[in-house]
């Protein structure tokens, strides 16, 4: 990196404010988690996080979060496409509702979704006809997580799609490509980095989601018990070391996910900007 003199003023001030708030709100608290866990021996940590029940909860959390984010990836791209490319009645309303999961308290969402998808609820009854149970199963968890993750992919893809120059599609069209080919070969590569970023954020958020899931999950060990709930129950057993060790695993997972999305963005930036 070149060391050029900074022309724009305020580096010290803005960096100082940024770092102090960041430190106080994010870094110190996160570090305290690490410090606390570090009081355990490494072997104990490993032993704690590899208990069958905890491994099972990782499986449940990661699997449902992954499926939910995958559904959101596909639906997010479709929604973004529809909202950017088509004109139809009530579009503004549809667009405006996307952030609802951010705004609606997760507990309210959980309670409501549970009452809708339980055997007695509107959807529970309907799917019950086909013998599909939603509430208190992994499907239920997935439904709650889909709800939580909706805004991420849509809001990541939408601006990219809006800015996408029409000439790319026209160029492909003139060259004889069909609509589906244009979409998959030309448009999709353009929006994929954004979509994957959204996917990563949704995935990270879903793994850790608690409020909406506890109501709908059923919480049965090995079946529908999610990791955040395990952390909660470890806390209630005054087992701080276990809780923090498991939390640390989740935290590392968050870091890895963010790191991966950053990598994707860096790779696409490299292709787009050509700074090799």
């Amino acid at each position: 990196m070149k060391r050029s003199k900074r022309v724009i003023p305020g580096f010290g001030l803005s960096m100082g404010v940024t770092l102090s708030i960041l430190g106080l709100v994010v870094v110190i608290p996160l570090a305290s988690l690490v410090v606390f866990t570090a009081q355990m021996s490494f072997a104990d940590i490993i032993k704690t996080i590899t208990r069958d029940r905890i491994l099972a909860s990782f499986r449940v959390s990661f699997l449902t979060a992954f499926i939910a984010s995958l559904i959101n990836l596909v639906m997010g791209v479709i929604l973004a496409w529809v909202l950017v490319r088509y004109k139809f009645p009530f579009k503004r309303i549809l667009d405006g509702m996307i952030e609802l999961p951010f705004a609606l308290p997760t507990a309210v969402a959980g309670i409501t979704l549970t009452s809708l998808t339980a055997d007695t609820g509107l959807f529970g009854k309907f799917f019950g006809i086909f013998g599909v149970k939603i509430a208190y199963t992994r499907i239920g968890i997935t439904v709650a997580l889909v709800f939580i993750g909706i805004p991420f992919v849509v809001r990541a893809v939408q601006p990219v799609l809006e800015k996408l120059d029409a000439s790319y599609e026209e160029a492909a069209g003139v060259l004889g490509a069909s609509r589906s080919k244009i979409f998959f070969k030309v448009i999709l590569p353009e929006i994929m980095p954004a979509a994957l970023t959204g996917f990563g954020l949704a995935f990270g958020r879903c793994i850790g989601e608690y409020g909406s899931v506890v109501f709908i999950a059923g919480n049965k060990p090995f079946e529908t018990e999610i990791t955040p709930l395990i952390i909660m129950s470890e806390l209630q057993e005054y087992d701080y070391p276990s809780a923090t060790a498991i939390a640390l695993v989740m935290l590392i997972a968050s870091f890895v996910i963010l790191f991966a999305t950053n990598l994707i963005q860096a790779r696409s930036a490299k292709i787009l900007k050509g700074d090799s």
Partner: protein
């Protein structure tokens, strides 16, 4: 140049931090209006506030009791008293107190949870004998709540473990009430199989095979059973079961099993907090008054079994007094019960992991 930059930087950092702490200071003052300030002087203060950290099913009980106590306090001292309630899973509540939630008194589901607060250094040893009846002013037990007409014909624990019966109970790992459920079932099996541990475990295993939803708290379990109509039988606190009957008299019935457990919720003064806030007198009176006839009746009206036998007798039409109740001492006390059954890798984990 470098030094100047560093100075700006340091200044900014200090500014940022002081801004933040300034915020939190104002906030904490806000939150405390009428909190810790009074009660330090010797004269009767204008208003005292107490925080009672309790567990889930006592909401209605303390709502009624607090009113009665306020009247009593006024009569006795002429002063006003305000009581802030906090409810939640018993274990979680204990943990929060241990972590700094400022509670003057705790009224939790089990002795074990109060002990956790004690272990944090907040409650002095010997609290169990500080109040009458091992500091449990009221007791309860575990009963079955079934749907009206008892379609699955559930009479006792044996019927609960039958195949095809859907059971709702909270998770013993996270819910105090659920531990009572578990131990009650264990007590029954213990008697049935004459202490044959392998068979007892099998029995408990069969019970949890039938569990459809394992909510994290007693109230969540009741919601699953009552609101979302899951399962055939809810293993519930006696008072919870009666509350549901009160709300939906046409939908549910209570079945009392032949053997259950005497659940003794514990109350205690949080010494560190009351000393700091100067509320010991009020807190002691608050818990003492729980043993008064008035309070005992309030407990009975809220479907808790009064610990005063005379008052309990007044409610003999409500409670099935013939049930054979074991106590936690039959399990060697809470520490042992916790160690054997509920710690990680304990019997409960073995049931699921095995």
């Amino acid at each position: 140049m470098k030094i100047k930059k560093a100075l700006t930087f340091a200044l900014a950092t200090v500014l940022g931090i002081s801004a933040l702490t300034a915020c939190s200071n104002t906030v904490s003052e806000n939150s405390d209006n009428g909190g810790s300030t009074p009660a330090s002087g010797g004269n009767t203060p204008a208003k005292i506030t107490l925080t009672n950290v309790s567990y889930d099913p006592t909401r209605e009980l303390y709502e009624a009791y607090n009113k009665a106590f306020q009247a009593h306090w006024k009569e006795k001292t002429g002063g006003e008293i305000e009581i802030s309630q906090s409810h939640g899973g018993s274990g979680k509540q204990a943990l929060e107190v241990a972590n700094g939630l400022e509670a003057d008194v705790v009224t939790l589901a089990l002795e074990y949870d109060v002990k956790a607060v004690q272990d944090a250094g907040l409650i002095e040893d010997g609290w169990v004998s500080e109040f009458e009846k091992d500091s449990s002013p009221y007791t309860s037990t575990i009963v079955f709540l079934v749907r009206k007409g008892n379609p699955k014909n559930i009479k006792d624990w044996d019927d609960v473990v039958k195949e095809g019966v859907g059971v709702i109970t909270p998770n013993p790992k996270t819910s105090g009430g659920a531990r009572w459920n578990y131990l009650a079932a264990w007590a029954y099996a213990d008697k049935k199989f004459g202490g044959d541990e392998a068979q007892i475990k099998k029995f408990i295993e069969a019970l949890f095979k039938n569990v459809l939803v394992l909510d994290s708290g007693a109230r969540g379990a009741t919601n699953s059973f009552v609101q979302n109509k899951q399962g055939d039988v809810l293993l519930a606190w006696e008072n919870e079961a009666y509350l549901s009957i009160q709300d939906y008299p046409d939908d549910y019935e209570i079945i009392t099993p032949s053997i259950s457990i005497l659940a003794q919720p514990s109350v205690a003064i949080v010494d560190k907090v009351v000393d700091k806030r100067g509320t010991r007198e009020a807190a002691t009176e608050y818990l003492n008054y729980l043993y008064s006839d008035e309070a005992q009746r309030i407990a009975g009206q809220n479907f808790y079994r009064p610990s005063n036998p005379d008052i309990l007798d007044e409610f003999k039409d409500t409670f099935d007094l013939n049930v054979n109740l074991v106590t936690i001492n039959d399990f060697g006390g809470w520490d042992k019960a916790q160690e054997t059954h509920f710690t990680d890798g304990g019997v409960f984990d073995q049931i699921y992991e095995g």
